[in-house]
Assembly symmetry: C2
Homo-oligomer: 166 residues x 2
């Protein structure tokens, strides 16, 4: 039994949450895990907008065609790419956030803000920055089970050796 390894395999996106706010200390620890994420050349060209105001959350949810988890969650973390930061680094941060949240008894779901331009406006993000992803964050509630089974392709379908197709 390897706790960390098993936590990675068990992580699932959860779209429904208990009807209570995130405790400040739990939020701080999740943000701390985000902060320690590695990035290309350790540039850390990112920031996080913690959305807890219900009206602001509703506006953020309206930037995403699949924004249901944002409407359901007490807190969202909008991930801002500053300058030329790539989605890759933001994805690494998202995974740290989700794994840390799970380790601390929370559940979460990444949401793509397909209407980027509106998200930038809603969040008052200055020029030269993008916000394409947010993480909905909450405590598990009675309805908190994955919406679908969410299996994965078998290894032999996704692994090659030394070159593609081998």
């Amino acid at each position: 039994m390897n706790t960390t390894y098993d936590s990675i395999l068990r992580l699932r996106a959860i779209r429904k949450y208990a009807d209570r706010p995130i405790e400040p200390e739990d939020l701080r620890r999740v943000l701390e895990a985000a902060r320690w994420t590695g990035s290309a050349k350790n540039r850390q060209n990112w920031s996080i907008i913690v959305v807890e105001d219900p009206e602001q959350m509703a506006r953020l949810a309206s930037c995403a065609p699949f924004g249901g988890p944002l409407s359901a969650a007490p807190t969202a973390l909008a991930l801002v790419q500053e300058g030329s930061t790539y989605g890759f680094d933001i994805g690494r941060m998202a995974q740290n956030i989700m794994l840390a949240a799970a380790a601390l008894g929370m559940v979460s779901c990444p949401v793509t803000l397909h209407n980027n331009e509106k998200a930038v406006e809603v969040l008052a993000i200055p020029e030269g920055r993008r916000c394409r992803y947010a993480i909905a964050l909450g405590y598990p509630g009675p309805a908190s089970s994955p919406a679908k089974a969410g299996g994965r392709k078998p290894l032999h379908e996704i692994i090659h050796h030394n070159s593609y197709g081998s």
Copy 2:
């Protein structure tokens, strides 16, 4: 003490490795963690090329201006984005790989393949796919400490509330 949470905070990119190959069972478990990574709509539009052949590894390293970790490592995992998969999902997979590797006693380093076109050629990747990132993977050796201290910005520099700048 929360093992998973602490592992997330402690993860660092390591660029030097012990001079021995990755055990097949350790590799399998790392790939299993990669396989279980979440992706938008559970599309899993990705594959992984496991590079262990030394000549192929040298060719892959030559696709990256900072490819030193690839030259030093016994194994690399080249992350292939199939179709329209975003860097965000690939970044989530990379973080799972790195955290799983650390949990199983390995060390790793993400490498950007700045010369994408050459990487696609070297790895014989068919059209419609991209390969922008690889993870160098090995066991820790005597020289395996982070090259630089690699601190992080303090939280107040990267966190806003409800809108940018607040």
